[in-house]
């Protein structure tokens, strides 16, 4: 209605009407979101730290070309020094090198598990959201079923049952990696599915989707061209949370001995090895712990920033 005013007592500042587009360059909603994200100083700072972390683990081996499994009993359990900036473990292996290597794995697992969870979640959620009736009901029943499963015990059980099998198929590292990613991702897609379904249910009724139908758009075009791009906001936020959760899950698994095997360092497995030496060599546990903490907290802060930046109420 013309002259529509918000009725709540805490009215937002009235939006100034613009005669012509006020910026010289067209700004897409994504660019606007980026602008809003930049204003969250904590999120931006976290983003920077995370980028440094990623740079460290990818470029690290070139800057610090020390072997991860060079055993040197003379240097065992040493604290930080020039030769070993993060100290050594009980076999004299350099911790910095191990953590760099382990970081790659931990972050890769986090990212890959998130991708699995998001892809499965989007497909399930989109199917459920687009079709009414029994398909939706069946998919939601499946989702609820998965949600009811106890995650950690199931994670452990699956790892225990299938680890050797995958090791034979894909090799030690590859097998462990794939299994962990599939298992973690496969147990985290439900939240994404629910989010996507909720978004689809509401977006389906929007007039611009109706307009596309009126133009003769096929269902596929509606989903891919109109609904999905507008549904992605909350999914991206959920995705960042999934990365953090996956990193913790992998660390937990490795800590409990059911993740990657001993000789492959990940942050969780290093932590596991270090736990018996906490009083003698606390640095051994401190650094991987700090690394996990840093990764997770920066991702979570970024997630907060993204949530505000991508708030669908602002964009639509």
């Amino acid at each position: 209605m013309a002259g529509l005013t918000p009725a709540s007592l805490t009215a937002d500042a009235p939006a100034p009407a613009v005669a012509a587009p006020r910026k010289n360059r067209p700004t897409s909603p994504w660019q606007e979101a980026w602008r809003r994200f930049r204003r969250h100083r904590l999120a931006v700072a976290s983003g920077v730290v995370l980028l440094l972390l990623i740079a460290a683990v990818t470029l690290g081996p070139f800057i610090w070309p020390v072997a991860i499994n060079e055993i040197d009993f003379t240097a065992k359990l040493q604290g930080p020094s020039w030769a070993h900036p993060l100290g050594t473990d009980d076999l004299g292996q350099d911790l910095l090198a191990r953590l760099i290597y382990g970081g790659r794995i931990s972050l890769a697992v986090g990212l890959a598990a998130m991708v699995v969870a998001v892809v499965v979640g989007v497909v399930v959620g989109a199917l459920a959201g687009m079709s009414a009736g029994w398909v939706d009901a069946a998919l939601m029943w499946l989702t609820d079923l998965f949600l009811a499963l106890p995650l950690l015990p199931l994670l452990l059980l699956l790892m225990y049952l299938f680890r050797d099998h995958f090791k034979r198929l894909f090799g030690v590292e590859g097998g462990a990696f794939i299994l962990i990613v599939v298992v973690i991702g496969g147990l985290r897609w439900m939240q994404v599915a629910r989010l996507v379904r909720a978004q689809f249910l509401s977006l389906r009724e929007k007039e611009f989707v109706e307009a596309a139908r009126a133009l003769g758009a096929s269902k596929l075009r509606l989903v891919v061209g109109h609904i999905l791009p507008n549904a992605l906001g909350p999914v991206i936020v959920a995705g960042t949370i999934d990365v953090a959760a996956a990193i913790i899950a992998e660390s937990t698994l490795s800590f409990l001995g059911l993740g990657f095997p001993s000789d492959i360092p990940t942050w969780g497995s290093v932590l596991r090895d270090a736990k018996d030496y906490l009083d003698i060599a606390p640095h051994w546990a401190l650094f991987p712990g700090a690394a996990i903490f840093l990764a997770v907290i920066t991702i979570n802060f970024m997630g907060d920033g993204l949530r505000d930046a991508l708030d669908p109420r602002r964009v639509l």
Partner: protein
């Protein structure tokens, strides 16, 4: 007539936003006398709602602020008052009803509770007495079965009924001024007619003044006595309703009146509606000089240099234009 009931003098309510300072209300002066109905008319973004909310200080103060001006209620400036003092004025002296009654009423409380709450707060009655008062108010606004409906929830009422409930709430303490912010815009036209008639009835019964904010010229013509036309945060014309429609002086008012199709014009079908080209300028960075200059058909170089002041061109008829 003594001093006006409400006298807004050069009010400036600005909002700090990420893009800059939005000058929603930028030097607005108007007054309402006891018992009269003043129409405040303008299109979206002109500042009429912000003006109304400023009177009751319902603006969120972190982004919003009173940059300048006074709001004199019976001679007393409301701007410096704190919340406790303002709460004595709200509902008891000045009441407000909004456009969308569904969002103005709390959905989890019965309407009886909500009206009774107002009565309890301001008249120091017990809950039981207040509920009786609430049922009386519902009866007053012609809601059938008031004793029973006082226990119903807002969603059980239709749009028109909810607006009546809002009016009942607003009138429960018999205020001297009722601010109605687009009270009928969201309603069907037959219900609108009912609500406007109800407001007129209430006004006569309680001797209230009404500040009716709307963008609908038809409503203004039928219910108000004096009109203030706002554009881009400023008042551009003020006149009695007959003078405004009979002899509009400001080019914006003229354009507005001419762009409305009329149901009753029996002189054949109008060939084309006159429209005002362009659109409202940004309130972030208002142009110097007259804000209507970019859309005015009579624009002259002098228009863009200085803001024309509101001057009286006939008794009670003020215009902000150099013509």
């Amino acid at each position: 007539m003594a001093e006006p009931l409400l006298d807004i003098r050069d009010l400036k309510t600005w909002f700090k936003t990420d893009d800059g300072m939005v000058r929603a209300v930028d030097g607005v002066s108007l007054h309402i006398d006891r018992g009269e109905t003043l129409g405040v008319v303008g299109e979206s973004g002109c500042g009429k709602t912000v003006t109304a909310r400023s009177v009751l200080k319902l603006i969120d103060m972190p982004p919003g602020r009173f940059e300048a001006g006074q709001i004199l209620w019976q001679g007393r400036d409301l701007i410096p008052l704190d919340e406790t003092e303002m709460n004595k004025i709200r509902a008891r002296e000045i009441a407000i009803i909004f456009q969308e009654p569904m969002t103005s009423l709390n959905p989890v409380y019965t309407v009886g509770d909500q009206i009774a709450e107002v009565i309890e707060l301001h008249q120091k009655l017990s809950r039981k007495q207040a509920m009786v008062g609430a049922a009386d108010m519902l009866k007053l606004v012609n809601i059938p079965n008031p004793q029973r409906r006082v226990h119903d929830y807002p969603h059980q009422f239709s749009g028109g009924m909810r607006q009546r409930v809002m009016i009942a709430m607003a009138l429960s303490c018999q205020p001297k001024l009722l601010i109605a912010d687009e009270p009928t815009t969201a309603l069907d036209v037959t219900i609108q007619a009912q609500i406007l008639e109800l407001m007129q009835e209430m006004k006569e019964r309680f001797g209230m003044a009404i500040m009716l904010i709307t963008h609908a010229m038809g409503v203004v013509a039928e219910t108000t006595q004096r009109v203030v036309v706002m554009y881009a945060g400023k008042v551009v014309e003020e006149a009695s309703v007959e003078a405004l429609f009979g002899d509009p002086r400001h080019p914006y008012t003229q354009g507005l009146i001419r762009s409305i199709p009329r149901v009753d014009r029996s002189a054949g079908r109008q060939a084309r509606l006159e429209s005002i080209p362009g659109s409202v300028p940004s309130l972030l960075d208002p142009p110097p000089g007259c804000r209507f200059a970019s859309r005015c058909r009579y624009v002259m170089p002098a228009c863009t240099q200085a803001i024309p002041p509101l001057k009286e061109v006939a008794p009670g008829h003020k215009v902000a234009c150099i013509l």
